[in-house]
Amino acid sequence: MTPEEVSEFEAKIRAYVGRENGPRQRGKDDVNLAMIRHWAEVIGDENPAYTDPDYAARSRRKGIVAPATMLQIWSMEGYPMCQSPKVDVQRELHNVFESYGYTGTLGTNTRTEFYRELRPGDQVSYHTIIDNIVGPKKTGRGMGYFIETVTTFTDQNDEPVGRQVFRVLKFVPPPQDAAQAGGGQQAAAVEAATRIASPRGHDNAWWWEAVDRGRVLIQRCKSCGTLRHPPRPMCGECQSIEWDSIESTLDGEVFSFTEISYPRFPGYPYPLVVGVIQLAEGTRLVAGITGCDPSAVHIGMKVKGKVEQVDEKTWLPQFYPV
């Protein structure tokens, strides 16, 4: 864009700040037991406060309440969204961004506050304003602007019942990304980060290739039988360069470990516990410890390992408490 175009664009988008996305509107459905039950069913929420009338009647609430996280649901437009979404002020603003090349859309944050619990029969109305536009900012997705909308929810007595701030990033997708730019509120990186793989060279490729096939091997000196890990080209005991391997049963115990909190690297799940595992065969192996609360991991804990796929590209041995 030329400097003139930039100022024209800036003027256009800033004019939206403070505008309402239509007048306050009443939700299509009042708070009701059926929608609550449908929601709880899908979310797997067994909280009796939402679905068990007897329990709810006996509780301090004296009756059923709706899950707080349904707040936004009472304002949803429903089926028309998949036919011809209405062009409201918010949609217009997105169109302005898109006409200047900011075609990427990414929902980045929501902050929802719940002032009171809603009960069947409550009538929820909502009112959204475009509260702020922050940018331009260089983001991981490309140059972009954050649009912040604020929706206030009120009840039949005009009393506020909640408030939601929604942040959406509109960005200029990098060229290779153009096809992936539009639409979805949550369209994140398609090329997902994976764990950093070990480079494979003459001395270690065979070991990693076995892991790819689900097996953990331990190098063994053909001459004196000494096991060694990590693999190396010569036996430190007898200096033989002839070797084969045995397969580990992956029975072991934790010799030491750490729970890694920071920094966090893309492609790794956190909290991440990594241990030095004393294998039954006598050698040690560094590997992940999973399947229990990190605070339960301790030195001496008996573990059993298996090779698992941990991301799209990576197979690794992981150890579970016995």
Binding site: R195, I196, S256, S261, Y262, R284
Partner: protein, 391 residues
């Protein structure tokens, strides 16, 4: 006479740049400034320099530093591997060169943009098929990527076998910070912390929290090594290199020696300590103050044991009595350490140990410092040096 380099070389000049989080200039500029400052301190000219030693990981070529500073012909140059483990190894190289007559005046330097440039906390990655990448390949896929994660794994084991608790880590970190509070050159000048803040610190890798981890800094430090004879004619009182040693112990890996019978200890430092003491006939009882490499607070404890200030496993009790503080048995890291002054890979520590012996530390202990110990980074092949007053 027994072959020995004890008392055959002396440190006669020290210099550092400002320490910061964003120097805004090249590493070469930091190196040149630190070297020039050390030469000025000694009262030497750039043309007096005929040797240079630095770390293999230092990005400043010796020839570039020499040209920048205006040195003359160099007849000795050498590098020491293994990150912070190189610090006193560079002094060993310089001392050997001077003792053997290979060079007369050797500069040891280290300069880095450790915060604004390449940050070690960002971990290793697997871009190249080198021996080092193959080695880190045993750890990277599992997420063991950073120095903190490796040291934490040793620390967990150390706590298990010794019963040491975070109380001792706090004492190490806190005593260093209290020194930094008085040191205008320190990043944490006038910024104390208390136990509640320490306990609330961000979790890094269990059991390490943020206050247990050194900073990342931009800056440079240098020292000048020459013969004791020449030292007597120079501006500053010379500081003798009484003993200096390096060691890579059996079954060493770079930061990940997880395969030894026991890993909550530092066999390489135990051996280096014995050798350094043997060179000069001194023992722990003769050491009055120290600069102990503190990339992470627990590693100070292990080194106190290696150098014989207490028995193995008893460092927690040693520090609990305030031994590291200014009026304690062994005032340690009086500049604030790498935890609280700056992380110049231990070379700022060599500078401070020289100051301790000269009597010019900003936190100078009240007693006479006849001998100061300075050590290198651990987890890697490492070592240490014993510095002393010239008779």
């Amino acid at each position: 006479m027994e072959r020995n380099i004890s008392d055959r070389a002396a440190i006669v000049g020290i210099g550092s740049t400002e320490f910061s989080k964003d120097s805004g200039r090249s590493e070469l500029s930091l190196a040149a400034e630190a070297v020039k400052a050390a030469l000025d301190d000694a009262g030497l000219e750039p043309s007096d320099v005929d040797g240079m030693v630095t770390f293999t990981i230092d990005q400043n070529e010796e020839v570039d530093v020499a040209r920048a500073v205006g040195c003359n012909d160099l007849t000795f140059y050498s590098r020491v591997p293994y990150g912070g483990g190189a610090a006193t190894g560079c002094v060993l190289q310089a001392a050997m060169a001077v003792a053997t007559g290979i060079a007369d005046t050797v500069v040891v330097y280290r300069a880095l943009n450790g915060r604004s440039g390449h940050r070690y906390s960002k971990g290793v990655s697997g871009d190249l098929i080198t021996g080092s990448a193959i080695h880190y390949g045993w750890y990277m896929p599992f997420g063991l990527l950073t120095p903190a994660s490796w040291v934490a794994t040793f620390t967990q084991r150390y706590m298990h076998i010794t019963g040491c608790t975070v109380d001792a880590f706090f004492e190490v970190a806190h005593s260093a910070r209290m020194y930094a509070v008085n040191n205008p050159a320190a990043f944490f000048y006038q910024r104390p912390f208390d136990r509640a803040e320490y306990d609330a610190g961000k979790k890094i890798c269990s059991p390490l929290k943020i206050y247990d981890c050194c900073q990342e800094s931009d800056g440079g430090s240098a020292v000048i090594v020459t013969t004791p004879e020449r030292a007597r004619d120079l501006k500053q009182p010379g500081v003798l290199i009484r003993g200096v040693a390096q060691c890579s112990a059996k079954d060493q890996e770079e930061m990940t020696s997880f395969y030894r019978p026991e890993i909550g200890c530092l066999p390489e430092m135990d051996i280096a300590a014995k050798k350094a003491y043997a060179q000069c006939g001194l023992s722990a009882a003769d050491i009055d103050a120290a600069v102990i490499y503190d990339a992470f607070s627990p590693i100070v404890l292990w080194q106190l044991e290696s150098w014989g200030f207490c028995k193995p496993g008893e460092a927690k009790d040693f520090v609990a009595d305030g031994a590291l503080r200014i009026d304690g048995r062994l005032p340690t890291n009086t500049h604030g350490g790498q935890l609280s002054e700056a992380y110049i890979h231990g070379v700022n520590g060599i500078v401070e140990a020289v100051r301790q012996v000269r009597g010019t530390s900003v936190n100078q202990p009240r007693k006479t410092i006849n001998h100061a110990l300075v050590t290198s980074g651990v987890g890697v092949p490492t070592g240490g040096a014993i510095l002393g007053r010239m008779g």
